[in-house]
C-alpha cells in the first residue's frame, strides 16, 4: 500500500498531463454509480459533438440517425457487476449493453472497462483487448471510463515485461496501451481530441 501511494500519484499526474480526467473510488460498486452519473450528466445530445451538427455528406449524415437513447457499453464486465450496472442505468433511462457494438458504430455514450495494468511514468492503461466487443466499445464511445486498481500500477513499462510477454504469447491476442484520449495534431499542429476514438478518457483509481 505504502509502495503504491506514490505510484498512483505519479500515474495521476502523467494521465492528467495527457488530458485524462482522474478520480478515485473505493469500490467497484462506486465505480458503477460513477459511470451512470457521468452518462446521465453528459449532454443529452453529446453525440453531436462528434460531428452530427456539422454539414456532412449524405452518407456521413446517415450515421447520425442510428442513435436514439443514451447508451452505456460495458463488455467483459463480470455478470454480477453488469447486472448491477444495468439496474442503475435503467433507473436513469440509460440503455446498458455488453454486446452488439457492430450495430452501434455510429457511437455510444460511454464505454466502461476495467484496466489490467497501469504504467505510472506515462499515465498509460493496459488492456487485454482480445474481445472484439471490448475493443470496439472503447473506440466508438464518446467517453471511455476505465477503472484502474491501484495495485496494478507499475512504475515503468519495463516493469510489466513479464506480464506483457504472457499476454502477447497467447495466440491470438490483442493487447492495448491507452494513454489519454484519441488525439491528432495533423492540421496546423493544433491539438484536437477525439479523432477516431473517445473524446474524453476518464480514469477511476480504485484503492484496493
Amino acid at each position: 500500500m505504502s509502495e503504491s501511494q506514490p505510484l498512483s500519484r505519479l500515474f495521476e499526474e502523467k494521465a492528467k498531463a495527457v488530458s485524462a480526467v482522474v478520480s478515485k473510488v473505493t469500490s467497484l460498486e462506486q465505480a458503477l454509480a460513477h459511470a451512470v452519473d457521468l452518462c446521465d450528466k453528459k449532454d443529452a445530445c453529446q453525440i453531436l459533438v462528434s460531428g452530427c451538427e456539422l454539414p456532412l455528406s449524405a452518407t456521413g449524415e446517415a450515421l447520425c440517425e442510428t442513435k436514439q437513447q443514451k447508451i452505456l457499453a460495458a463488455p467483459g464486465l463480470e455478470p454480477k457487476l453488469f447486472a448491477k450496472l444495468k439496474e442503475l442505468a435503467a433507473e436513469r433511462g440509460i440503455l446498458c449493453i455488453d454486446t452488439g457494438m457492430r450495430q452501434r458504430l455510429g457511437g455510444v455514450d460511454i464505454a466502461f472497462t476495467v484496466a489490467d495494468f497501469g504504467i505510472a511514468e506515462t499515465g498509460t492503461l493496459v488492456f487485454d483487448s482480445n474481445s472484439e466487443e471490448q475493443r470496439l466499445a472503447t473506440m466508438i464511445a464518446e467517453f471511455h471510463l476505465a477503472v484502474l486498481p491501484v495495485s496494478k500500477i507499475r512504475e515503468k513499462s519495463f516493469d510489466l515485461e513479464e506480464e506483457l510477454l504472457a499476454l502477447l504469447q497467447k495466440s491470438p491476442s490483442y493487447t492495448a496501451f491507452v494513454t489519454g484520449a484519441s488525439r491528432t495534431a495533423d492540421i496546423e499542429r493544433v491539438l484536437a481530441l477525439g479523432v477516431h476514438g473517445p473524446l474524453e478518457l476518464h480514469i477511476l483509481l480504485l484503492e484496493d
Binding site: 472484439e132 499542429r189 479523432v195
Partner: protein, 716 residues
Amino acid sequence: MQTAKDLKEYRAELREALDNEFLRQAMDKFAVAYRGSRAKAFAGMDLKGLIADVAQAKDGAAQRMDELLSEFTAKAEAAGVKVHVARTALEANEIIAAIAKENGVKKIVKSKSMTAEEIHLNDHLEGQGYEVTETDLGEWIIQLRHEGPTHMVMPAIHLSRNQVADLFSEVTGTKQEVDIQKLVKVARRELRRKFVEADMGISGGNFAIAETGTIALCTNEGNARLVTTLPRVHVALVGLDKLTPSINDALRVIKALPRNATGQAITSYVSWITGPGECQSSPDGKKEMHVVFLDNGRRALAKDPMFSQVLRCIRCGACANVCPVYRLVGGHQLGHIYIGAIGLILTYFYHGREKAKNLVQNCINCGACKAVCAGGIDLPKLIKEVHARIQDEEGHPLQSQLLGKVLKSRKLFHALLRSAKAVQKPITGGTPYLRHLPMIFAKDQNFRALPAIAETPFRDRFEALKPRVSSPKLRVALFSGCVQDFVYPEQAEAAVKILGKHNVDVSFPMDQSCCGLPVQMMGEREASRSVAEQNVRAFDPASCDYILTLCASCASHLKHGYPDILAGDPKLDVKVRQFADRVIDFSSFVHDVLKVQPEEFRKDGKKVTYHSPCHLCRGLHVTEAPRALMGIGGLEYIPAEEEDVCCGFGGTYSMKFPELSAELLKKKLANVEKTGAELLLTDCPGCIMQLRGGLEAKGSTVKVAHVAEALAERLK
C-alpha cells in the same frame, strides 16, 4: 515527391517553396516549438545512453534479420497468420492485391504506413479497382489532394486550415467552416463510414516481435485499432528492418520514438497483435491476417558496412524537425517519399538515383540531424557518401572535378589564390570586399559581400610573427585552413599573439593545404583523401603537443573526418590517429589548456553576442569555452536566439543554393541584431565570411570577429 530533371529545375522548385508564406511561418513555429517539447520530453533521462542502446539493438537485429524472420514466421504461423516476404516493391503490391482478390475485397481502409508510401501501394490497388481510404487524418488529407507526405509523422504539415476546409467542402459537397476542431470531427464522421464498409484493413508495423510473432502499432488517433478490428481481413505491411527480437526491444524504442517525434511521452495507442483474433463480420467469426515483409534492398543494406546503420531508423522524423533546410522549404522539396536527412539517403536506395540526385546535394552539413537521431545514425556522412556514389555512377560535374584537381596539388591551388589576388583590384575597388562581382555570380550572391584575398597570406607572414620562446611549455602546430591563410590572416595572427604570451612554441608546417572538406562536400572522394593524406604527412604529429586550428569546420573535419577518410591505409593508421588526437579548436585550447585569466585582459564591457558554428557545437561538442572566454576577455555577452542554428554558409553549399543560404543568413542576422550587441563573435572563418558579408550587404553597424581577435585586441 521529386520530379525535377536537373539542379536548375530543383532550384526553381526551392524558390517556389521559399515564396510560400504559410509554409515558412508554419515551419518556423514548428522548429522552435519542437526543440522545447523534445527537451522537456527527455528531461531527466539518459538520452545518450538510450540512443546508444537503440543503435546497438537495431544493429544487432539487422545482423540477424533472416534468423528473426524465421523465428517470427514460426510464431506467427502457429498463431494462424499467413506470412509473406516480398523482395521488391512490385512483389509486395502484387501479394497484397492477390490477398484482396482471394478474399473478394472491394473496399480497403488503411492506417498510416510509410512502407506503403514507399511502394506506392494505393496506386497499385486503385489501379486494380479497389477503393482505398487512408484513415489517419493527415494521410487522408494528402490522399484527397493527390500529394505525397511532407513529414513522416505529420504528413500534412504543409497545409493550412483554410486549405483543409476547402478540401473538406469539396469532399462533403457542403461548405465547411475554417475551424480545426470542427474539421477534425467532420473527418471522424466521414471516415467512420469507410471503416464500417471496408472488407480489408491495411496497417504498417512499428515492430515485428520475433519472440511472440506480434505486430505492434503506435498511433495517436486510434485509427489503427479500427483498421485492425473492423474489416474481416488484416494485412500488415512491414519492412524487414522492423523485426526485433523481443518485447524489451520494442519497449525501448517506444521510449524514444514519440518523445523524439513530437515530444510526447508515448502515443495515445500502442496495439500489440498476435495472430488473427475474433472478427464478427467474418463468416467463420475469425479474422484473416497476413503479414507482408518488404525487403526492397533491406537485406542487402543490412550487410553493407557503411549503410547498414540506416536500418536503425525508427521513422520518428526528428532529422527533418531540426533541419534548417527543411524548415525553409518543407518536405516536398526535402524528400521524395521519405523526408528529411534520412530521406535523402533512403531515396537513393528505395527510389533510385534519378529521384535522389538533386535532393542529396541539398544538405548544408550542419549536423543538426545527427545530434537528434534516435538511432545515432551519422546522417551527414551518409548523405555525402550517397552524393559521391551518384557522381561516380553518373559522372562528376566539371566544376567539382576541377576543384578536386586543383586542391590535390597544393602548389597549384596556392598559385591560383596568389594570382587571384593580383587580378582582383578592379573588383575590390580598394576595399576588403569584392565590390563588382562578375555577372555570373552577381545575381545570386549579392545577399552578402564576398571578401577579397588578403594582401599577404598568413604563410608568408608567419616567420616574422613566430613567437621567440625559450623553454616553451607547449609545442603547437598551427593549421590555418585556406580562409585564414589567404583571406583572414589577421585571425591566425591574433591567435599567435596570445600563444606567444603564454610561452607556447608555435610552428606552421608549410606543406599544409586545404583541409579537404569542400571536396568532401562535393562528393570528390579521391581528392578529399589525397588532401587528407598530404596534411597528415605535413604535420608529422608526433613532433607537436597540439594541432591548433581556428576554423571549426577544419577542426571537426581533421579530428573526425580524417580517421574515417584514411581508414584502412596501413601506412597512415598510426599517424592519422596521432594527428586526430592532437587536433583542438582555438577556444578550447585557450580556455581549457592555457586557462587564460581575466587579469590578462583590459575589461571594456563591450556588448557582444555569439554565433555557435555547427562544426564546433555539434562537430566537436564545444559549447562552454567560447562563451566563458567572452567574460574572461572583459566583454559583456548577450545570448542571441538560436545561436546554434546554421548561419547558412556551408562552404560550397552557399554557392550551390544561394537563395537558401541567404534565407538562413537573414534569420541569423535578425537574431543577432535583436540582442543589441555591437560585436558578433564566432569561432570559424567560414561563418565570419558569411556573417560579415551579410551585415556589410545590409549596411549594419554590427562588427564580426573571431574570438581570437577579440581576445588579442584586449590583451594587456
